[in-house]
């Protein structure tokens, strides 16, 4: 069994500490929003996970291009790891958004452009894993996966800009607002601090999980190679 690099161990600890710090800032330091009350506090984790997940999906598209150019399966493993971690983070984003929407919009879900594009993005990457499951040949699987992830990468900027391009009730908290939005709020300095702490914390957590997932991918590859060797 490969031992963990010291830097990864430090990153593991740092990720846990930052998760605690971010939770403290979100629940204690940030002021209570005057209209929505405490449910607004889920916004910090919502935006932290959304930020990292969407960056992760875009990063995946870059990794796909690198794989298609180099044909090195290492890049395929990096891609799978990035998509998996992003998928988990984006699931948290969607669930938190839904929980916030219940008291703010009086519904768990509505087919608003932002929510719809977010759901489509999540489903695109769930389907990515289903596609991979159906292909046995590693090279073919990596090639198909890369093309799919490259096309799927388009969904990330569409999701991000959906609230800026279309009529939507989803608030635009950062860089302007929209008149149709319901549940928007002005950020105080305490809220801004909590938001930036969450952004930093979730970026570090993402990197930590990503590194751990890459190691798992390397191990999977080693086992697969050895299985082929033993059975031949």
């Amino acid at each position: 069994m490969q031992s963990k690099p010291v830097l990864l161990k430090i990153l593991d600890v740092l990720a846990i500490v930052l998760l605690g710090v971010s939770t403290y800032f979100a629940l204690v330091i940030a002021p209570t929003e005057l209209v929505m009350g405490n449910v607004q506090r889920v916004f910090y984790f919502h935006i932290g996970t959304a930020w990292t997940a969407l960056i992760g999906f875009l990063f995946t598209a870059v990794l796909s291009v690198i794989y298609l150019v180099t044909k090195d399966l290492k890049w395929d493993r990096y891609q799978v790891a990035a998509i998996e971690v992003s998928l988990v983070f984006f699931l948290i984003t969607i669930v938190l958004g839904s929980i916030w929407a219940r008291p703010a919009w009086n519904t768990w879900w509505t087919w608003d452009p932002r929510l719809t594009t977010a759901a489509i993005t999540e489903l695109i990457y769930v389907a990515y894993f289903m596609l991979r499951q159906g292909i046995d040949d590693p090279d073919r699987r990596a090639r198909f996966g890369s093309v799919y992830a490259l096309l799927g990468g388009v969904s990330a900027p569409i999701t991000f800009f959906a609230i800026r391009l279309f009529r939507t009730i989803h608030p635009v908290v950062i860089s302007g607002g929209n008149s149709e939005a319901q549940g928007g709020f002005d950020m105080t300095s305490g809220m801004l601090t909590a938001m930036f702490v969450a952004l930093i914390a979730f970026t570090v957590i993402f990197i930590d999980l990503y590194w751990n997932r890459i190691r798992l991918g390397n191990l999977e590859d080693k086992v697969e190679q050895l299985k082929l060797k033993v059975t031949m």
């Binding site: 405490n38 607004q40 506090r41 889920v42 699931l91 916030w100 751990n212 191990l219």
Partner: protein
């Protein structure tokens, strides 16, 4: 909710949100751990299977000389 003076009581939603976030993250970390443990187990097994097999000795091993049972005669005659 938006017409009231005091903040709405939405504590339950906040708690649910944080609990679900932590559960999802914990489950993912656990899944990485479990998959890693299973793969390490598989790897150990496969490495053992992959080891070159030691040559089997064809000659029969010599039978050990069995010592005769020592019986003590009783000292008294």
């Amino acid at each position: 909710m938006f017409l009231q003076d005091t903040p709405a009581n939405t504590d339950g939603y906040m708690i649910a949100g944080y609990v679900i976030s932590f559960i999802v993250m914990a489950l993912y970390v656990a899944s990485i751990y479990v998959r890693s443990r299973n793969l390490n187990r598989d790897l150990t097994l496969l490495e053992e299977m992959d080891k070159p097999v030691a040559p089997v000795e064809t000659s029969q091993p010599k039978p050990k000389k069995t010592a005769k049972p020592v019986t003590k005669r009783s000292g008294k005659k």
